[in-house]
Amino acid sequence: MGTGVNEKSGHNKKLGKDGEDLAARHLTNAGMTVLSRNWRCREGELDLVLTDGQRLVVCEVKTRSGDGFGTPAESVTAAKSQRIRRLANLWLSAHHVGWCVVRFDVIAVVWPASGQPRLTHFEDVF
């Protein structure tokens, strides 16, 4: 039983990792520079921190294999967006960045087991 859960969570971890890779490629292709990936602190983790040369872009990536439990973007709740805002402040102070414009994005990836991934980019959402 335990192995089943581990297998499952292992699969989900890989899916999340693949989704983040895809999102990072998407944003780099759009001309951004990745500053941090999976930046961790005791309060949590930021998936992607980038810059387009003028402002900081904090991006949360959600990947799912289907729409059965709602779209990936729907799972970014108000509480989660609050947490990401707090983490962004921590990132800024950890990197000794002064005042700058910050944009919060969400990238939703739907990646079916067999088929092409579908990426949706929500810009400046909270």
Binding site: A73, E74, V76, S81, F122, E123, D124, V125, F126
Partner: protein, 504 residues
């Protein structure tokens, strides 16, 4: 197009306001926000509507949806906006054309599978929509018969959200047309012929029916007080169309209409139990007050059986409604006004022990006095007709001639009412009971000879000034029943006799 509009209605009592619903699909994470002071039921609408849209094989917009209900400062509640919200969102998402929504009012609650459920208050809602200039209405198919009572609107019925969307896309014959209007069935109430004896009480009932006066029946149990009261509605003429719509609108807000024959064409008879609360009697409830028994009895009869068991608190709550013909109820969200022009019929035993013959009474004089004193003076002052019923002495007495039935009496009542309506027509009153006191004392002043007895009553304190006005109204009814031009001294004396305190 990221913005679309649809129309619905908000109800405050029996008055409605057209509500414009704007749906905006903007950038942002998926989510729905409703603005415009929604209550809990309307807040839940976003979950109901989204599920209904998905289960009707339509896509919900993958970004942020803002729904605004204007006028924004008006508190709104209930589930009747669901259909308009769903259509607004889908039109904003370009899933359906927005053009047909422009002059269409949409009313109905959605279930999660996309079926359209009936809501309360469709009739008053559509009256408001018509006033706001909307030309078409889509309502749940169960309320179609009620909606079609509003003329001047094209009314369509829908069973599910999918049908409405099909109609918006121009598919023919998806929505149901209203059924052919059939004449409301003639009400077959109990007949007056069933009541044994009681000539005075029958006469009082006839006078009450002819003038719309309030009536008190006292007497030993089992003499037919309740039977007589139940037969009063059968003596009244059917409601005029405007009255019927008023009554139907109140019952629609109360959610008490039948689906197949919603129009209330006969005067309603409402008989609340004596344990009923004040809010149930005059109207109340949180948010926006709902109509009570007095408003449900509008243009009909409110029967208070065992009036002495009601307690002064609740009976006296009736007084303002009796005097003004409406109740105004202020609650958190709105102050609403419900019409309550009813005819009050009180029935009471003469004492707590109430034997068949009054001489067998075992109550102390004090107990008797206290019992009837539960009917307060100010309330009784508003009751024009007070009758003491006599015990039935012989069953055999009624063998020969059949007592007069309801239809014969109704003919006389209708003739008398006709005379009254013609007389007051230029002033807009429809029965003698509605005529204000000053008009009776000035424009329709009786001769000094006819008023002599009344003046003496006022002088000795036997009647109050309001009582004198009520006496004049009763005298007019008596003269109408007699087919005479104006009341004379005899009619005034008879009216005074009906107010005789000995009956209560």
């Amino acid at each position: 197009m990221a913005l679309a509009r649809a129309w619905s209605v908000a109800l405050f009592g029996v008055d409605g306001v057209a509500v414009e619903i704007e749906a905006d699909i903007g950038p942002g994470l998926p989510g729905v926000q409703i603005v415009g002071l929604p209550d809990a039921a309307l807040h839940e609408a976003k979950d109901r509507v989204r599920a209904a849209v998905r289960n009707s094989d339509e896509g919900w917009p993958p970004t942020h949806v803002t729904l605004a209900l204007s006028p924004a400062a008006l508190p709104k509640g209930g589930s009747g906006y669901d259909l308009a919200l769903a259509c607004g969102v889908l039109a904003a998402a370009d899933a359906v054309p927005a053009e047909p929504l422009r002059c269409t009012v949409l009313i109905g609650e959605l279930s999660l599978d996309g079926r359209l459920r009936p809501v309360r208050g469709v009739l008053p809602g559509l009256l408001a929509a018509r006033k706001a200039g909307l030309r078409r209405a889509i309502v749940p198919v169960d309320t179609l018969a009620e909606a079609v009572l509003v003329d001047g609107l094209e009314v369509l019925g829908a069973g599910a959200l999918g049908e409405v969307l099909g109609w918006l896309r121009g598919e023919p014959d998806v929505l149901r047309l209203p059924p052919e209007t059939t004449a409301p069935p003639v009400p077959t109430g109990p007949d007056l012929a069933d009541v044994l004896g009681q000539p005075e009480a029958r006469w009082a009932l006839e006078v009450a029916a002819a003038g719309g006066h309030h009536l008190l029946l006292t007497g030993p149990p089992g003499t037919g007080k309740t039977m007589l009261a139940q037969r009063l509605c059968g003596l009244l003429p059917p409601l005029r169309m405007d009255e019927a719509l008023e009554v139907t609108a109140i019952h629609s807000v109360a959610g008490a209409l039948s689906a197949d024959a919603p129009l209330i064409a006969a005067p309603p008879f409402v008989a609340p139990h004596h344990s009923t609360s004040v809010p149930a009697l005059i109207g109340g409830g949180s948010g926006v007050a709902k109509p009570g028994a007095v408003s449900k009895a509008h243009r009909g009869v409110l029967f208070i059986d065992e009036a002495c068991d009601w307690g002064p608190h609740r009976l006296d709550a009736l007084r303002t409604a009796l005097e003004e013909g409406e109740v105004r109820l202020a609650r958190r969200d709105a102050a609403v006004r419900y019409p309550a022009r009813f005819q009050l019929v009180l029935a009471a035993n003469p004492c707590p022990c109430a034997p068949a013959r009054d001489t067998d009474c075992s109550c102390s004089p004090n107990a008797r006095r206290r019992y009837l004193a539960r009917l307060s003076g100010p309330l009784l002052d508003r009751v024009d007709l007070r009758v003491r019923m006599r015990p039935i002495t012989a069953m055999a007495a009624s063998d020969g001639a059949r007592p007069e039935g309801s239809s014969e009496v109704r003919q006389r009542v209708c003739r008398a009412r006709e005379r009254a309506v013609q007389r007051w027509a230029t002033h807009g009153w429809t029965s003698n009971a509605e005529v204000p006191g000053p008009a009776l004392r000035r424009e329709f002043r009786l001769s000094p000879r006819a008023l002599g007895l009344l003046d003496r009553g006022l002088d000795t304190g036997a009647v109050t000034a309001r009582g004198a006005d009520r006496c004049l109204r009763l005298a007019w009814t008596l003269s109408d029943l007699a087919g005479e031009e104006r009341p004379d001294a005899d009619h005034v004396a008879c009216a005074l006799d009906f107010r005789d305190r000995r009956a209560a």
